[in-house]
Amino acid sequence: MGTPSFPAKRLPVAALLPLKRLRAQLAPTVADGLLSLGLLALIAWAAVQLGGWAIGRADWAVLQLNSMLLLVGRYPLAEQWRLWLLGALLAAQAGLSWGLLRAWPRADRREQGQLWPRHDRIAAVLITLLALLLPAALGLAGALQGRWWLLAAVLLALRWAAGRWGPGLHRRTLKLLGLLWPLLYLLGFWLIGGGLGLAAVAPGEWGGLLLTLVMASFAMALSFPLGVLLALGRRSNLPLLRWGSVAYIEFIRGAPLITLLFIGQNILGFLLPASISPDRVWRAAWVLTLFAAAYLAEAVRSGLAAVPRGQLEAARSLGLNQAQALVTVVIPQALRVALPTMVGQFIALVQDTTLLSLIGLLDLLGMARGIMANPEFLGHSSELYLVLAVLYWSCCAALGLGSRALERRLDPRSLAGRP
């Protein structure tokens, strides 16, 4: 392998000519040069193989024919407009938030006043390209393609509008806009599940990416407050709360998720009275929630440990009671410290939803496994695996990117007032 060195010790390569720069990067020594050659050959070989496969042998019909199954599972056709509506609302809200973030930078932001910083321009172009090219590449029907375009258009239009007129909005209005997210969350569950005037769609009929996202977002939203409570319990100086939290957290963290899902599917029925028989999807959702809460609690705990004791004392000495002090002073700081770890847990949670396919639920992976088993598509599972990998990777990577952006945004504040 190449000779290790501390990265900061690298040559000031930017000053060198491109060729020299390349040489400094690839072949600082003869051995490194040989290694680089080998690696280059390997990469070239892989690229040729993959390219040849993608152009020649890959058959994307398996995706075209099953795109709706993969997206929403067996969700009734007549009710799918609800999902598109939800998609449009989400796109609108995302565009709005994005634009407002840019319109209201923190006082110390570098990009202040810049409506379209460079990253945003790149993102906008990417979104446009994806919306235009991907549906076409998959050969989706015209009506479906149009809907994807509409979603992208809504997102970008609201991004622009919010960035343009956002600064003129009153502070109070902005606070209200922040409430839109939880509102949209509840609205989303109503649109997906029905009831209250809409035809009910049982959880058993949700599937594919829809089920994956519903499960992941449900577990994220609910495990968050649970995790914070558990973390507070674990750091409490009341022995019963502390030991209770410790026991719970360690029990959950000691067991593989699959055994916990197993308990949810096979044991829960024995624990509940016969009159209560929650749906299998909800059981799994709650298991995921309780599972994620334990891991989140550990992340939050490390955050709480990083908040100096003086913060609580200062808040109490100002007359805030314990709850007020925790909510307004301690927890916000703890969460900021814990943010990277927490997002790591959320990424793990998205990945963990694939285990639902092992207990007979048709999440994205479960749906794909069903499709792959269809002899009609035998020999074309590579295409499905690739698309699934890209989808999951994008979800996880997007979460990671988002968290890093959020960290940066919070950064000036995290230069804490500690001496």
Binding site: P4, A389, Y392
Partner: protein, 324 residues
């Protein structure tokens, strides 16, 4: 100090809070347990371990412990546990090696190597393990050719029917041989085992690489410079100066990864390998003893976790002591 009503007394309040929470939990647990006992007795399934001694009636493949269908459930579960341990031990060594190499590659002077290490870590960590296991099993290992066309490397043959390794047999070194159209070798692994190992090693390896990278990065830059000024070259610096210090940070991170490896090994059933979880599922199916089977599972994995924690704590103490 007197005359304070008890519900506002700060000496009483913490206990009150604990009592309320404790009582709520107690009531909940009592309710659940009452239901459990009632439902179990209604189904005639009250806790009993007699079934452990009854013949299992199913066969297991690839066990370390000799097993056939007439042996009891208890032995089947034990065989499954041994298989799980085998996976964990081998994957643990493999992923540590891979992780260490990739983690150190992040500090290579070779830009290409650095880039590849980064891409590997970013790709593998963000794709679910289960998907990767299915990929390795169905797309890679089951696509291997068989018989004469099998992939033949020195001392190793990869075929759809299994992985064949050279080894000592009957006192002499023997490589894989083709006999009557099927391969024979001193060491044979099923492709299920191979797929599971490959998946676990590459997945956990990526996480370990991050731990190692973080550990090395935590060593102050002055240490590299000091070593360089003493005339040590890169590899020697890494081995003698940096790694011993980095281990202090790496070992605790490794513990977490090893435990998550142990838990992840329960996904074996996705690629058809007979591990503890898979045996437990079959056992549940035959006996209907859901509660007992889950208790066995939880106890086994908890014990494995504790074992790893204890071993790693020992290692940690060793590393930290040497530092002083």
């Amino acid at each position: 100090m007197n005359g304070t009503p008890w519900w506002r007394d700060r000496r009483v309040l913490p206990w009150l809070l604990q009592a309320v929470v404790g009582l709520a939990v107690l009531v909940l647990v009592a309710l659940l347990m009452t239901n459990l006992v009632r439902n179990l007795s209604a189904a005639g399934l009250l806790l009993s371990w007699r079934w452990l001694g009854q013949p299992a009636g199913f066969d297991l493949s690839e066990t370390l412990l000799p097993f056939n269908a007439s042996m009891p459930y208890g032995r089947a579960l034990l065989a499954g546990l041994l298989n799980t341990l085998r996976v964990i031990v081998i994957a643990l060594l493999g992923s540590s090696l891979l992780g260490a190499l990739v983690g150190m590659a992040a500090f290579s002077r070779n830009g290409l190597l650095r880039g590849l290490a980064r891409v590997y870590v970013e790709v593998v960590r963000n794709v679910p393990l289960l998907l990767q296991l299915l990929f390795w099993y169905f797309l890679v290992f089951l696509a291997l050719p068989d018989g004469r066309a099998a992939l033949q490397l020195p001392g190793l043959v990869l075929a759809k029917s299994g992985l064949y390794l050279a080894g000592f047999a009957g006192g002499s070194w023997q490589g894989p041989q083709l006999l009557n159209g099927s391969w024979q070798a001193p060491l044979q692994l099923s492709v299920e085992f191979g797929a599971l190992l490959t998946g676990l090693i590459t997945y956990i390896g990526a996480f370990i690489a991050e731990v190692v990278r973080g550990g090395i990065a935590s060593v102050p830059r002055g240490q590299w410079e000091a070593a360089g000024s003493l005339g040590l070259h890169g590899v020697a610096t890494l081995r003698h100066i940096v790694l011993p210090q980095a281990l202090r940070v790496i070992v605790p991170g490794l513990t977490n990864q090893y435990i998550s490896l142990a838990k992840a090994s329960s996904l074996a059933l996705a690629c058809g390998f007979t591990d503890l979880y898979s045996v437990a599922e079959t056992t549940l199916n035959q006996t209907g003893r859901a509660v007992e089977v889950v208790l066995v599972l939880l106890a086994a994995y908890l014990a494995i976790d504790l074992l790893i924690s204890a071993a790693m704590n020992g290692l940690n103490r060793l590393v930290q002591v040497r530092e002083r």
